[in-house]
């Protein structure tokens, strides 16, 4: 796998629909062969537009897209050989499951016995053997989605695009489908470009995630890096939960900086701040802060418990800390010896490495 680093390449791609607003700005993105890459972002961030340009349903206003080294802007969609799974499945309602899967094979003039073999294989891949004669209307949402996945793979494309394919499913089904798609990807090694606005979906499935906002890729990295080391406040805010402190850098040295808040000072890890006097937003993941830490931590402050919400495996505690009334802590319910009661004053500590000083909001 990963034999080619730039199997798909977006080269300085711009896209505008009306000549006034750029939906995609100067997109530079390489996708390796066999990779599962997710475009993640809020609606209107340009991620679906990127996918449509790759599929050939939209043309880039500027720049070029390369697939396996070939420029594809002038190739019509039906000659690109890219499989695609659509948001609402887009199964042909007047054809049976078999005919749906046979469609891409028939237009490629693949002989019937060979086509039947491929269809059988594709159906068994999504565990839908025996459903070939059904009409799409007779299938549940999850089954329809699996047919759509099978159809996008049945003609052995090198690249499969998925446009929020699980958006219409309920939560449990969505989760099991996430694993199923991930396993299919792992077993056949096809390159997948996946678009979603659901961050947990992106974190679960992808090799790499491209976080889109405002027509630009904000960060492109592996799921754990994205979560642990966001490079700007948008990514920190968009992925997972996040506690923030807005302040001004008062001192900076040796990979540490001091940030002056309204009425206190904290030590943080300077990521996008360069010098004294800069405005910054410090981001800290809830699970990185501890109550009454046993080890020594370079940030230790007192806060008042404002709200306690029981969540089964953990308890969410909202604390008024250093002038931020929305400071969230997640306490595992196994450590029940802690004295978490509404109105109590508690000590909260965290390492300065985990407090990332990013661009101001």
């Amino acid at each position: 796998m990963a034999s080619k680093k730039d199997f798909v390449k977006f080269d300085k791609v711009d896209k505008s629909y009306d000549g006034k607003v750029l939906v995609v700005k100067d997109l530079q993105l390489d996708i390796a062969e066999g990779e599962f890459i997710t475009m993640l972002g809020p609606s209107g961030s340009g991620k679906t537009t990127c996918l449509m340009m790759l599929a050939g349903f939209e043309t880039p206003t500027n720049g070029e897209i390369y697939l396996d080294g070939k420029a594809i802007s002038s190739i019509p969609p039906h000659k690109r050989g890219i499989g695609m799974v659509f948001q609402n499945y887009a199964l042909f309602p007047h054809m049976t499951v078999y005919e749906n899967l046979a469609f891409p094979l028939r237009v490629r003039k693949i002989p019937k016995d060979e086509a039947d073999k491929k269809i059988d294989k594709a159906l068994s891949m999504v565990s839908l053997q025996g459903f070939a004669a059904r009409m799409p209307g007779q299938l549940s949402g999850g089954q329809q989605q699996r047919v759509a996945v099978a159809r996008s793979l049945v003609f052995d494309p090198q690249l499969v695009l998925m446009d929020e394919p699980l958006g219409a499913l309920d939560k449990n089904l969505r989760e099991s489908m996430q694993y199923e798609i991930k396993h299919i990807h792992e077993s056949i090694g096809v390159t997948v470009v996946y678009v979603t606005h659901d961050q947990s979906e992106a974190l679960t499935m992808s090799n790499r995630i491209a976080v889109f906002n405002d027509g630009k890729v904000q960060q492109l990295s592996s799921p754990d890096e994205l979560y642990e080391k966001p490079v700007n406040s948008f990514v920190a805010e968009f992925i997972g939960e996040n506690n923030t402190f807005g302040g001004e850098v008062s001192d900076i040295s040796e990979g540490k900086c001091k940030v002056k808040l309204a009425n206190a000072e904290i030590i943080a890890n300077p990521i996008s701040v360069k010098g004294k006097g800069e405005r910054t937003t410090v981001s800290l993941r809830p699970e990185r802060a501890l109550i009454n830490p046993s080890t020594k931590m370079d940030n230790l402050h007192k806060g008042k418990i404002e709200e306690v919400i029981y969540h089964g495996d953990h308890t969410r505690v909202r604390i008024n800390l250093l002038g931020n009334p929305e400071f969230i802590l997640k306490v595992p319910n196994s450590s029940s010896n802690l004295d978490i009661k509404l109105g109590n004053e508690i000590k909260i500590g965290w390492n300065s490495d985990d407090a990332r000083a990013l661009d101001p909001k």
């Binding site: 599929a55 019509p76 039906h78 695609m84 659509f86 887009a90 042909f92």
Partner: protein, 417 residues
């Protein structure tokens, strides 16, 4: 299904079905009361008059009631030779009564439908009957005119004896019951209705085809354009609906006449010579052009409503799976529009087959349809029973098409909106 069905009871011990019926009774009454005014209106204005008209097409009581004694006397007549004195006496008695009531004119009209030539001899008989002496009516009546001595005319009278008749339907097909009681076609040069039926079917068929060819792209555009353009286009499609049918037809008369705008244009671009302008009106061309334009919205709207529900991602899916735009259209998009095509074609065809005003105004002699003939008999000849017979034939033609459509495409496959 389980083999033994146990009666399910409610908590109070009443059978569930009884309880359910009771609970739903109030709603049913309410629902009925809501539709009752319309139902009442429909019965009075639709079911009753149409039923009455249809009954008229087979009703032949008028003559039966005007000549009761004659027909009674004719029961023993074999129809081979002239009837005997008994029939003539009975006929005389009936006729005198009619003359007293001043209804002999109606009789002559009715009998004339059956056989030409009755009008004058009945007039003569009325004048002569005043001087008739009692007894030997056969001699006296036969002396009035030689046709009264012709057995053909007495057979014609006898044919009007039954209270019900299907002869109007035969007439609608250019057929009649001849003297021997056989159903035969009328002479070649007098067959007008068959030509009209065929022309009606032909024009309705081609108007449907033209409407389909023109409406399909428009409907597709309507369904896929962004809202602000599609609204404008929709107004253009609906504009004809807001204009009077008469005004639209009259506009076509202005456009299509020999010195009209279309002809001027053809001459202007040198397509035809000025002294050889084609006739586009008062013939089939006129009917085709005007009817296609007028019926177009009835094709566009069902097509549009069906196309609107087809997700654009289906065409995209077809293309992304490797189908050329044509294959994607033909294998994916087109089959999904069939319910709309069926609805539109059925609607346009049925409307076209009974179209009246437009062919009457721009159709001329060669472009008129069967409905114009029906109107002619309603207004001019006052042969209402013949008009309603043809109306019923038209209706059954439509039902046959509907049945065929159901057999071929399936009526549940139809979609009007």
């Amino acid at each position: 299904m389980s083999s033994e069905t146990k009666q399910i009871l409610t908590t109070d011990g009443i059978p569930l079905e009884v309880s359910l019926k009771k609970a739903e009774k109030k709603n049913k009454i309410k629902a009925f009361l809501l539709v009752a005014p319309l139902l009442f209106f429909l019965i009075i204005t639709y079911v009753f008059p149409i039923g009455d008209m249809l009954f008229r097409s087979v009703d032949d009581k008028m003559v039966t009631q005007m000549l009761p004694k004659t027909f009674k006397a004719m029961e023993n007549w074999d129809g081979q030779e002239l009837p005997d004195e008994e029939v003539f006496a009975a006929f005389h008695e009936d006729f005198i009564k009619l003359v007293e009531d001043k209804r002999e004119g109606k009789l002559s009209t009715q009998l004339n439908y059956t056989k030409n030539g009755f009008k004058s001899i009945i007039k003569k008989l009325r004048r002569a009957s005043k001087k008739f002496e009692e007894g030997n009516y056969k001699e006296q009546i036969m002396a009035v005119h030689k046709r009264w001595a012709d057995v053909e005319y007495w057979r014609a009278i006898q044919r009007r004896a039954p209270e019900f008749t299907g002869q109007k339907y035969l007439k609608g097909m250019d057929m009649y019951v001849n003297e021997e009681g056989k159903i035969v076609s009328v002479e070649e040069d007098r067959r007008i209705h068959r030509v009209l039926w065929l022309r009606t079917l032909e024009i309705a068929f081609f108007v449907t085809v033209f409407c389909f060819l023109m409406a399909y792209p428009i409907a597709h555009l309507l369904a896929t354009l962004p809202m602000k353009y599609s609204n404008l286009l929709m107004i253009c499609v609906l504009l004809p609906f807001w204009t009077s049918l008469l005004v639209r037809t009259a506009s076509w008369m202005i456009l299509l006449q020999q010195q009209g705008i279309v002809n001027d244009f053809f001459v202007g671009i040198g397509l035809v010579a000025d002294d050889n302008r084609p006739e586009m009106m008062y013939n089939k061309t006129g009917s085709y052009v005007a009817m296609t334009q007028i019926l177009l919205p009835f094709m566009v709207l069902p097509l549009y409503s069906v196309m609107k529900t087809i997700s654009p991602s289906l065409m995209r899916a077809g293309k992304s799976l490797g189908g050329t735009p044509f294959v994607a259209f033909w294998k994916v998009y087109f089959p999904l529009t069939i319910p709309g095509i069926g609805a539109g074609c059925l609607l346009v065809f049925i409307l076209a087959i009974g179209y009246y005003i437009t062919p009457a105004l721009v159709g001329g002699a060669s472009g008129t349809l069967i409905s114009n003939q029906i109107a002619f008999h309603m207004k001019s000849t006052l042969d209402w029973s013949f008009a309603s017979a043809m109306g019923l034939m038209l209706l059954s033609g439509v039902l046959v098409i509907y049945w065929l459509y159901n057999k071929i495409v399936g009526i549940d496959n139809i979609k009007l909106g």
